[in-house]
């Protein structure tokens, strides 16, 4: 029997607000993080480089503060319902840190594939930056023979390349050109996305 896995990017795809900027706002570092987010989305620096910088800036925030901010972040209700209806086939594939978003992913009831970090003397230290293409390969090894992925940014391109069907989703902001160029579909509305996912 054919097994399909649905992979979702987190920030700006499942969440209507970006998570790291919300943490940055708490620190009064919104502008600095916004600049980093912008140049990363446009692909001017690699996602790994950007994540290292962001963790260096935001890693000083106590974890319980981060978690309380992340817990307040809204998930798109239509996509949340889609995932809750098939939690074993859905995966959140995010470059964000397990330490920061693990609880949020847990709320959805599905598994997450994330970048990894640990704390040293209360400071978050990055251990491994997720390559989203590797995440898809991992799911194939785990027995999924068809992968459908949804994302919006340059770091979703490796995931799109390894997927059978890629959907660029512009629910919050327009997908980047790089993401659109690797996608089979472009969708701007969560209900339309869920209906597309159920026909594929």
């Amino acid at each position: 029997m054919s097994r399909t896995a649905y992979c979702f990017d987190l920030d700006g795809t499942l969440t209507s607000t970006e998570i790291l900027p919300s943490i940055a706002a708490e620190l009064g570092l919104s502008e600095e993080i916004a600049t980093l987010t912008r140049i990363t989305m446009e692909g001017w620096i690699t996602f790994a480089e950007s994540l290292r910088l962001r963790v260096a800036i935001l890693g000083q925030v106590p974890l319980d503060v981060v978690r309380s901010i992340v817990d307040d972040i809204d998930l798109d209700p239509a996509l949340e319902a889609f995932i809750r209806a098939r939690p074993d086939e859905c995966f959140v594939v995010t470059g964000n840190l397990d330490l920061w978003v693990g609880h949020l992913v847990g709320r959805l009831g599905c598994q997450g594939v994330t970048s990894r970090a640990k704390t040293r003397n209360g400071v978050v230290v990055l251990e491994r930056v997720l390559d989203k293409g590797d995440a898809v390969k991992g799911l194939r090894t785990a027995g999924f023979d068809r992968i459908i992925s949804v994302g919006d940014g340059s770091n979703d391109v490796p995931m799109f390349k390894e997927s059978d069907i890629a959907i660029a989703f512009g629910g919050v902001h327009s997908p980047t050109q790089a993401a659109i160029s690797e996608a089979e579909f472009v969708v701007h509305d969560a209900e339309a996305l869920c209906s597309l996912l159920s026909t594929l």
Binding site: I180, F185, V186, H188, E191, A192, L196, T199
Partner: protein, 228 residues
């Protein structure tokens, strides 16, 4: 009886014959693009609209992002080497049931479209025909009265009262595997039920003038109905 569930609009091709540097569906008439007009007249009748994009996809994606957010955009990056029929097949990917396939360069009178879609529920496939008036038409040979027409043949010969109107309703997989023109795929299944559709095609500069006048007339009728 099986109602039309989805509409697939093929808007991937080059607007080369008109030379405006735009996909033909992005031409604006009386403040609205040809594509917006189509989407808005289809939206009340179907569960979803899909638009297949290729040439200048950025423009069509931008239009949908701002005005038609619930449209699903299907990319055809091979638009330079594929035909409309292949775009239509890509647009219907994953769908089942009945689909209305349309060229993206049509101005359709909404009332007549609504009738056509209703009629399409009663037959396996329904081919749209119109009085022959385009510059380079593919004409149709029809049998029977106007209310129950059958298309028996497509022809490039002049002197036929009706032309193929580039709109057809049928099974979602009806364009799969085809390579030539859409009407050549239909030829494989003749005879086919047909019905009139009040529309104009934006294909050549002369067509464009006719289409503009027609769109203005449709807009006026719409405004009158809204006031009544």
């Amino acid at each position: 009886m099986q109602p039309v569930e989805y509409a697939v609009i093929a808007s991937a091709g080059l607007g080369s014959r008109l030379g405006h540097g735009l996909p033909k569906s992005m031409l604006e008439i009386n403040g609205r693009t040809v594509l917006s007009r189509l989407i808005e007249s289809l939206r009340p009748h179907v569960k979803g609209v899909r638009v297949v994009v290729g040439y200048r996809e950025d423009l069509v994606i931008g239009l949908c992002a701002s005005l038609h957010r619930d449209v699903v955009i299907v990319r055809n990056p091979e638009f330079r080497t594929t035909n409309t029929v292949q775009s239509m097949a890509m647009g219907a990917r994953g769908l089942s049931g009945k689909v209305l396939f349309l060229d993206g360069d049509l101005i359709v009178e909404p009332g007549s479209l609504s009738h056509f879609i209703a009629k399409a529920a009663d037959v396996p496939s329904l081919v749209a025909v119109a009085p022959s008036r385009s510059e380079n038409p593919v004409n149709v040979v029809v049998d029977g009265p106007e209310s129950r027409m059958l298309v028996t043949r497509f022809t490039r010969d002049a002197g036929h009262p009706y032309e193929w109107a580039n709109v057809v309703a049928g099974p979602a997989d009806m364009m799969d595997g085809a390579e030539g023109y859409v009407f050549q795929r239909l030829e494989e299944h003749l005879p086919l039920d047909a019905a009139l559709l009040d529309l104009r095609e934006v294909d050549t500069p002369a067509d464009l003038e006719l289409a503009k006048a027609f769109a203005l007339q449709v807009d006026e009728q719409g405004a009158l109905r809204a006031r009544a």
